[in-house]
């Protein structure tokens, strides 16, 4: 698995697209959870959202580099 990808000769870390992908996934999940009203039942919605993002990102990295 490449650690860096070249875009027009500039090396970018490969986790950047992974991060963008996790943002997208998180956005979709956010929509579903908001629709289900989950965020209204938790103590700190923002923290839950952040943790979800971290989990998704970590899972993607883990899957990519295993």
């Amino acid at each position: 698995m490449p650690r860096e990808i070249a875009i027009f000769g500039v090396l970018l870390p490969a986790i950047l697209p992974l991060f963008l992908a996790s943002l997208l996934i998180q956005g979709a999940l956010d929509w579903v959870l908001g629709l289900a009203g989950v965020y209204r039942r938790v103590w700190h919605p923002a923290l839950v959202r952040l943790c979800l993002l971290v989990c998704i990102f970590a899972a993607l990295i883990g899957a990519y580099y295993q």
Partner: protein, 718 residues
């Protein structure tokens, strides 16, 4: 201390004294926590975000860590929704701006005049775009404009470095955005969502109190206008709060739809109420008409319902039942009125129709409010987003000004040949773009300029007394903390926010440490001077180039209002009413922002004009909707002629066109009444009735407009 006299024992006295003391302390503590405490938490959050971003930028070895730090200060806003919203739009603007800079530098490498012209055009276009939108969307445009300058100008001499500059800028802004969003969203968040609900509640209470006061005739017409102006500002404020809350976790899409619907229902009710109020006012002013006494109990019925809606002890009124009660009351009044002459009959019909319409609108508004307050999920039909509107003259002026600022700065740079003026030029571009969407650009730039001047000596002290001695990161934080904390503390005070922003941005530009520090006193001072000179140039440009063309300038708003009215008579009908309503209110809210708490007589005249045009526009749109669905008939032709004449009047509002409208309205009366008499379908009947009311309200408001109208009231009998 205690008010209790002799009979109480010594022990009791002491206890009650302690209790008083404790409750006093608790009160003080709560007061402090709500004011100073909030501000200190805000400062702490800003510092956490700034120094985390700086540390990460050092750790990742980025080229200019101060950009990441500056971003966190730019994103330092009171509620987490606002931070997330601005973060999103900042990212967007940066990406667009970087791409534009790459394109321009690639097109005109080392060709300074061409590059500057391209950059000036780009900044002008972006600033025009910024003037057309509100809040953070507008910021996104501004940013796209000046990011291109920030990258394009330094790479004038080294075009090959431009890609690196762009990537660095994007990376650092991205880092700053992530850090600021996480810190402001997770640490002691203040939710925009909750603030929106507070706004909604305040609006609901104020509107109902306003309606019942007007219905009981306790407000002077001037105060009514002021209230309408405030409500227009409220509508815009709720929209911006909603846009911020949209980015928060606890905010659902259903909520967004409900808020849109709430705002729309409010605007509809407000317009109906204005028409109703104006008509009642006229009736009262006219000689003793039997209509006034007949309408009075119906008004009282509505006013009582409104009062009951507000007071806590009384059960909330049932608006459905109120509407049926109102209908039966109207039927009774109609029989009491009996057969009277035409004008009185028309007055009566219009008054009751408006009352019924107002009760309907109010029922919808109250239902939406209760749905929001109790967090019930409601099916909202066709919620449409808010449409802002800026007078085109102002849009163009802000673009021209931004472009001129850049070209002027470039000319000065070329002429003086002082290398640091590049920095000054970037500052000029930034502030001439940022200030153009503010209603008081000079006041804003002055605030920042004061902040810069205040920041200059403080930054020098910080850099050469403290930062120079720091030899590891914690020491660096300790050295740089005071100046940033001071700036953020000032930012959290609405009156000194501009100064605070100036201090933090200035300090972030000059103090911010690099990976390889080098201390050069001359460069430091030159840099400071260039920053101040840049903002001063922006100040000069705003006071010299088109100084009257600022957001919410009343003449521009007035002519834009007339154009909107013309649009109501001409534009395609799809969602026209909604768009028209939004744009007129948006123009009024700009007027409110520029006029401040005590608008001048001219500004009030514009408000009055705007309200009349709002009413006329609504009537025109309703008539056009009716024309759109009816088959060719004399009534349809007459109404179409009315609309046509009104459009001509909106285009050139003078006596001649006004008289033409009046006669067209009078001619339209009989055929519409004939159509109403021959109509069987209930729904169509209602629409024809509405059209009659519209004709009447057009007629009366035009008469109000033209005191010396050639046609007398008696002609109305036809």
């Amino acid at each position: 201390m205690t008010p209790e006299p002799a009979p109480a024992t010594h022990n009791n006295q002491a206890r009650s004294a302690v209790q008083t003391g404790v409750s006093w302390l608790a009160l003080q503590w709560r007061g402090w926590a709500a004011s100073e405490g909030e501000r200190l938490i805000f400062v702490a959050k800003c510092m956490a975000a700034a120094f985390t971003a700086l540390w990460l930028a050092f750790r990742l070895g980025l080229d200019s860590p101060n950009t990441a730090m500056t971003t966190t200060f730019i994103l330092a806003l009171p509620s987490s929704g606002m931070v997330l919203e601005k973060a999103f739009y900042r990212l967007l603007g940066t990406v667009v701006g970087c791409s534009a800079a790459l394109l321009f530098v690639a097109l005109f490498p080392q060709q300074a005049p061409l590059l500057f012209i391209a950059l000036a055009l780009w900044a002008g276009i972006c600033t025009c775009g910024a003037a057309m939108y509100r809040n953070q969307q507008s910021y996104s445009f501004v940013l796209a404009g000046y990011t291109a300058c920030m990258i394009g100008i330094p790479s004038l001499d080294h075009p090959t470095a431009v890609f690196n500059l762009a990537v660095t800028r994007l990376t650092e802004v991205g880092l700053g955005i992530i850090v600021a969003s996480v810190v402001h969203d997770v640490l002691f968040p203040r939710h925009a969502n909750r603030q929106v609900m507070v706004t909604v509640q305040a609006r609901y209470q104020r509107f109902i109190a306003f309606c019942s006061e007007v219905m009981e005739q306790r407000l002077a017409p001037a105060e009514v206008e002021l209230n309408h102006l405030r409500f227009a500002a409220d509508i815009a404020a709720l929209e911006s709060g909603r846009a911020a809350a949209f980015f928060e976790a606890a905010h659902s899409r259903a909520h967004t739809r409900q808020l849109h619907a709430f705002n729309n229902a409010f605007m509809t009710a407000l317009t109906t109420f204005y028409t109703l109020h104006r008509l009642t006012h006229r009736l009262h002013a006219a000689t003793a008409s039997p209509v006034v006494t007949l309408i009075e109990p119906l008004h009282a019925m509505l006013a009582a319902a409104l009062r009951a809606e507000l007071s806590a002890g009384v059960p909330a009124p049932d608006w459905q039942r109120l509407q049926t009660d109102l209908a039966s009351g109207i039927a009774a009044a109609r029989t009491a009125l009996g057969a009277v002459e035409r004008p009185v009959q028309i007055d009566f019909d219009t008054a009751v129709e408006l009352l019924e319409r107002f009760a309907r609108d109010m029922a919808a508004f109250v239902a939406l409010y209760h749905g929001l307050a109790q967090q019930r999920k409601m099916q909202v039909s066709d919620p449409v987003a808010y449409h802002p509107k800026t007078p085109p003259g102002l849009v163009l002026a802000s673009g021209v000004r931004a472009a001129c600022a850049l070209l002027l700065g470039a000319a000065i740079w070329y002429w003086l040949d002082w290398p640091y003026l590049g920095t000054a030029l970037v500052m000029t571009a930034v502030f001439s773009a940022l200030a153009s969407s503010s209603p008081k650009p000079l006041a804003m730039i002055t605030g920042v300029l004061i902040g810069f001047c205040l920041g200059a000596p403080l930054a020098f002290i910080t850099e050469y007394w403290w930062v120079i001695r720091a030899n590891d990161y914690p020491m660096l934080v300790l050295a740089a903390l005071p100046i940033f904390a001071l700036g953020c503390y000032l930012t959290s005070d609405p009156k000194r926010a501009g100064i605070g922003v100036g201090v933090t941005l200035f300090a972030a530009q000059v103090v911010a440490p690099l990976n390889l520090m080098h201390y050069d006193g001359e460069a430091f001072l030159s840099n400071e001077l260039a920053l101040i000179a840049g903002v001063a140039l922006a100040f000069v440009i705003f006071s010299v180039i088109l100084p009257e063309h600022t957001m919410g300038q009343k003449d521009h708003v007035a002519s834009a209002l007339w154009r909107e009215a013309l649009g109501a008579a001409k534009a395609p009908l799809f969602r026209l009413k909604h768009r028209f309503d939004n744009r007129v209110r948006d123009l009024l809210s700009q007027l409110n922002a520029a006029a401040g708490p005590a608008p001048s007589a001219e500004a009030r005249a514009v408000v009055r004009q705007g309200l009349t045009l709002l009413e006329l526009g609504h009537s025109v749109i309703e008539m056009r909707q009716l024309i759109d669905v009816s088959a060719p008939s004399p009534a349809r032709t007459a109404l179409a002629l009315c609309v046509q004449q009104l459009a001509a009047y909106f285009r050139a509002p003078d006596q001649r066109h006004g008289a033409a409208v009046l006669s067209a309205v009078l001619d339209a009366g009989p055929p519409v009444r004939a159509a109403l008499a021959g109509e069987q379908d209930a729904a169509r009947k209602l629409r024809l009735q509405t059209a009659l009311t519209d004709l009447h309200s057009i007629y009366t408001s035009l008469l109000d407009q033209m005191p010396a109208a050639p046609l007398g009231e008696s002609d109305h009998a036809s």
